[in-house]
Amino acid sequence: MDLFTVGFPTALTLDNLFYCFAGVFLGTFVGVLPGIGGLTAVSLLLPLSFYLDPITALIFLAGIYYGAEYGGSTASILLNLPGTASNAVTCIDGYPLTRQGRAGPALFITAIGSFIGGTLGIIVLIALAPALVSLALSFGAAEYLAALLLGLIAAGTIGRGRPIKSVAMVLVGVCLGLVGIDVNSGTRRFTFGFFDLFDGIPLVVIAMGLFGMAEVIASIGTIKFVAEARRITLRSMIPSRQELKDSVMPILRGFGIGSFFGPLPGTGPTISSFMAYAVEKRVSSNPEKFGKGAIEGVAGPESANNAAAQTSFVPTLALGIPGSATMAILLGALLIHGIQPGPRLIGQHPELFWGLVASFWIGNVLLLILNIPLIGLWVKLLQIPYRLLYPIILGMICIGVYSLSNSVFDVWLVIVFGLIGYGMKLLDLEPAPLLIGFILGPMIEAQFRRALILTGGDYLALIQRPIAGILFACCGALILWLVYSMLRSRERRVA
C-alpha cells in the first residue's frame, strides 16, 4: 500500500502537517466569509506557495480548497448568505433551521456530513485515479487532444448562466492563454511590444484580476453582515436521535452523487450539491418539509459537495486535465514548480500523489475539529465588517502579484484584468470557464500540432484511433447536448 509506505510518512512531516493545518484553517476562514470563495483564496495565496516545496505547496493549496467547502455552510445556515457557490443550496433548509433555534444541530450534521462525504470521496479518488492512469499511459497526441478538448467543452457547461456565454468565455480564455512567444515558430503573439508579455500572461495575474479585484469591487457595499451575536455552544449542537436518523441516508446518497459528478469535468461541487438536494426532495416521504427546515436538505448537499471536492482531483492528478477553475490553479502551481501534470505524475512523483491523498485524510479530521468544537470562533468571524476586510485582500493581491517576478508590470496587468472582470460581471459573463480555457489552450495547441504532424494533416486519421475516437465522440455528444440546451433555454425564455 503506497498510501501507508509513502503517503502518510510524507504527509506527517512537521512542515506538511503545519501547512495542511494552515490550509484547512485559512480555507474555513475564507469559506465562512461571504464574498471570498475557495477559488479567490487559492489564487490569493498561490504566490505564497512558491516559497514551499511542491508537495507542501499542493497540500496547502488543496487544504484551502476543501476547507472552504466546509466553512461555506456556516454563513449559509446562520445568515442565509452562501459562503461559496456550492453552499448556496444549504441556505434553503439551513436558515429555516436557524430560525427555529436548531442552528447548532444543523451545523453539527453539516460538519459530520462533510466529513463522511469527504473521507469516502478520498477512497473513490484512490481507486479511480490509478486506474485512469493505466489507461492514459497508452495515450498518444491524438488521445490527449481529444481528452483536453473534452475538458474544454465541458468547461462550457460549468457556468450557471447560458452555455453559449460560457463557451464564448472558454474561447476568450484560449486566446489569452496563447499570448506570448509561440514555442514552435518564435513568433510573438499579442505582446503589443511589451517585453514582459513574451512569456505569456501569468496565471496568477488572470486569477487575481478576475476573481480577486473584480469580486472586491462587486462586493463592496453589497455584503452587509447581520450583526446578530448568536452563541453556539457545544451542548446546543447535539442533534436529536430523530435528526441523526434522518441524516444517515441523505449523507450516503450525497456521497454517491458527489463522487459521481466530482470527477466529471465541468460539474464539481456546486452541481453535485444541487443534484443532491433535488434527489433528497424527491425520495423524501414528506417533501413539503423541504424549504421549511428539513435536516435532509442540509445533510445531503453538504456531503455531496465535499465528496465532489475530493473526487474532482481524479482528472487533475491522473490526466493533468482540470475539471474546474480551482483545479486549473492547482495545476498551474505544479507547473510553476516545474512538475509536468499528466498520467506520468503518479508514477514519477508517488510521494506527491500519495502524500496529498494522505493529507486529505488528515485535513478532514482537522476540519472536523475546527468545525465542531471551534464553531464559536467562526461565528464571531462573521461579525467582521467587509469594509475592514477588503482593503486587506487588495493589499494581498498587490504584494502577492508583485512578488511573482518583482515587477509592477504584473500589478498593472491585474488592474487591467480586474476592470475587464468587473465588466464581465456586469454582462453576466463568467470568469471560471475563461480560466479553464486559459490553462487548456496552450496544451491543446501543442497536442493539436503534434497530432496533425503525425497524421500528415489528416483530420480523419485522428478519429480512427479507438480511444481517441471514443473521446471525440464524447466531445461531439457534449456539443450536441450544449446546442440542445441552448435552444431549449431560449424557448423557455420566450415562453
Binding site: 464564448a168 484560449v174 469591487i217 457595499g221 469594509r387 518583482n406 476592470l419 453576466d428 420566450v494
Partner: protein
C-alpha cells in the same frame, strides 16, 4: 425589437469584435496548413468560434429582456485608484507608503468608511505586509524610499 440596454447584446458585440481582431491578427501571424500549423492556425479556429457565438448571442438577445445593471462607480474608482497608486509609487516611495495609499484610497470605496479606523487599518496592514513579505519572505523591497 432592438434593445441597446441589454447584457447579451453588448456582450455578443464585444465578443464578435474581439473575435474579429484575433482572426485578423491570426492571418497576419501566418496560418499555415494542418500538417504544418503556423502561429495563427489555432487562433483562427478560436476566432471563428468567437465570431459565430458572439453573433448568436447578439441576435438571440432580441428575444428577451436583460437590462444592464448599474455600475458601482464609487467602489470601482476607489479600488482602481488605490491599486494604481500602489503600482505607480511602489518603486519610488517604498512598500509602506504604497500600501498606506492603497488601503487609504480603496477604503473610500465603502460609504461607511471612517477616517480613524481606516488609518489604523492602513498602518497595521502596511507594517504587517512588510513583516511577512520583506522580513519573512525576503522580497527585495525597501520599507521607505525616495527615488524619482
Amino acid at each position: 425589437m432592438l434593445q441597446l440596454n441589454h447584457k447579451d447584446l453588448v456582450g455578443g458585440v464585444l465578443i464578435t469584435l474581439l473575435g474579429g481582431f484575433v482572426g485578423y491578427s491570426a492571418v497576419g501571424l501566418g496560418i499555415g496548413d494542418a500538417s504544418r500549423m503556423g502561429p495563427g492556425y489555432m487562433l483562427a479556429i478560436v476566432a471563428a468560434g468567437m465570431i459565430v457565438l458572439g453573433i448568436a448571442m447578439a441576435v438571440g438577445s432580441a428575444r428577451y429582456q436583460d437590462p444592464l445593471p448599474r455600475i458601482a462607480w464609487r467602489p470601482l474608482i476607489a479600488v482602481t485608484a488605490g491599486m494604481s497608486a500602489f503600482a505607480a509609487l511602489l518603486g519610488h516611495l517604498g512598500l509602506i507608503p504604497a500600501v498606506l495609499l492603497l488601503i487609504g484610497l480603496s477604503a473610500l470605496g465603502d460609504r461607511d468608511a471612517r477616517p480613524v479606523s481606516t488609518l489604523v487599518l492602513a498602518v497595521s496592514v502596511s507594517v504587517g505586509m512588510w513583516v511577512v513579505f520583506v522580513y519573512g519572505l525576503r522580497i527585495p523591497l525597501p520599507a521607505f524610499a525616495l527615488d524619482f
